[in-house]
Structure formats: C-alpha cells, structure tokens
C-alpha cells in the first residue's frame, strides 16, 4: 500500500529561520514524489517534484530512498511562505495530511 506521512500538523518559525517540512513515504516500487502548496484562498499548486531536482521559491527537496523521505527545506523562511504544504506520492496522487507553515515576523 502507498502511504505518505507528514508528522507535523503545524510548524511555526521566525522570519529568516531555516525551515524543514518532513515527509516520509511507504511504497515498494520506484516512487515519484511531489510537494504541493496551497496559499490562503488559492488553489493547490505544484511546488516541486523530485525528478526535476530544481529549487522553487528557495525550496529544495531531496529524495532519500534509504530513509524513504522527501523533506522540504528552505534556508531562510519568508512571511509569504506561510501556507499549507502537502507531500504527495505517485499518480493518482496519494497525499499526506499536510503541514501548515506559519512564518512569524
């Protein structure tokens, strides 16, 4: 069975502090992993995907198959990063329960 775990419901950090949103997955095959973001009153949108290995809005995520993790990181949080973040696996997407990031000025 496919499963995605995001252990933190809420993560609060100060502006300028590093951010790490945790994601662990369970899947026996070769996974495709994504991070989606939902800003207030906006639709869900793709933030990044592991196969592209790019940095979007300063965020990066590395797939660690040994630890079955795909943590999202940003070195310096900004207020505009406050949103709901979802880790997702494969297609059709299997979502984690989401982590709400709150960046405090």
């Amino acid at each position: 069975a496919q499963r995605v775990t995001q252990p933190e419901k809420l993560l609060s950090v100060f502006k300028g502090a590093p951010v790490e949103l945790k994601c662990n997955y369970s899947y026996s095959g070769s996974p495709e992993l994504f991070w989606y973001v939902q800003y207030s009153r906006q639709r869900l949108q793709l933030l990044l995907r592991h196969i592209s290995r790019e940095s979007i809005k300063g965020f990066t995520a590395d797939l660690n198959k040994g630890e079955t993790s795909f943590h999202l990181k940003k070195p310096f949080a900004q207020e505009e990063d406050s949103a709901m973040y979802y880790c997702a696996l494969n297609t059709p997407l299997v979502f984690g329960k989401g982590t709400r990031l709150s960046v405090i000025a």
Binding site: Q6, K9, F34, R43, L44, Q45, L46, R49, Y86, N90, T91, P92, L93, V94, F95, G96, K97, G98
Partner: protein
C-alpha cells in the same frame, strides 16, 4: 492557472438529496481526478478518469459515482448526500501520469 473550472463553487444541500458537481477543462488533458479535502485528512482521491468513459475508484469512493462522457467534463455525483460528505471537493487534471493541475474547489455543506 490551467483551464479548469468547477461548478458550483458553493452548495448547501439537505441530507438525502442528490448532488452533482461539475469539473470542466479546456486543456484536453487525458486524466481527470476528484479529491475531497478535510481537516486532519489532507486530500483523498474519490475517483479518477483515464479517458472518456474510463473511470476507476479511489481511496474514498463509497457514496460517490462519476461520469465522463466527453474529454472536457468530469461529473461527480452524490446519489444521496450525507453529512459526512460535507467537504471541499477539488478536481484535478493531468496530461499523463504527471504533474496534476487543480481546480478552485467546491465547498459542499450537507445539513
């Protein structure tokens, strides 16, 4: 935003009544999906379609049916709405087993 619209955007209905939500796309993408979003559960797949008249069940399909008679429209029907189906419903599309683009959502309240 990708060309995805959902209608209605908000609906209040009574328990036991039928409800149909519509997802419309102008991207000619093959795949279409219906999710529901609930606090503490994230997004969960209800049904999806991989072509006209081709659909399959997702994680939480009980109480829901879908139809896709043409590429651009994917309908989600609650045959007899229950309070547990109060949720925000999102439609998504993808060209292939690839990045999914999401609609704006429909907030459904079943009283």
């Amino acid at each position: 935003d990708a060309g995805i619209t959902q209608s209605p955007r908000h609906k209040v209905t009574e328990t036991g009544t039928p409800v149909t939500l519509r997802c419309h796309q102008t991207e000619n993408h093959r795949y279409m999906y219906w999710y529901r979003q609930d606090p503490g559960h994230g997004l969960r797949l209800i049904h999806y379609s991989y072509g006209v008249k081709d659909t399959d069940k997702g994680e939480v399909s009980d109480g829901y049916s879908v139809s896709r008679s043409k590429t651009e429209d994917f309908l989600l029907t609650l045959e007899s709405a229950t309070s547990s189906q109060t949720s925000v419903y999102f439609c998504a599309i993808s060209r292939d087993v690839d990045e999914q683009y999401f609609g704006p959502g429909t907030r459904l309240t079943v009283t």
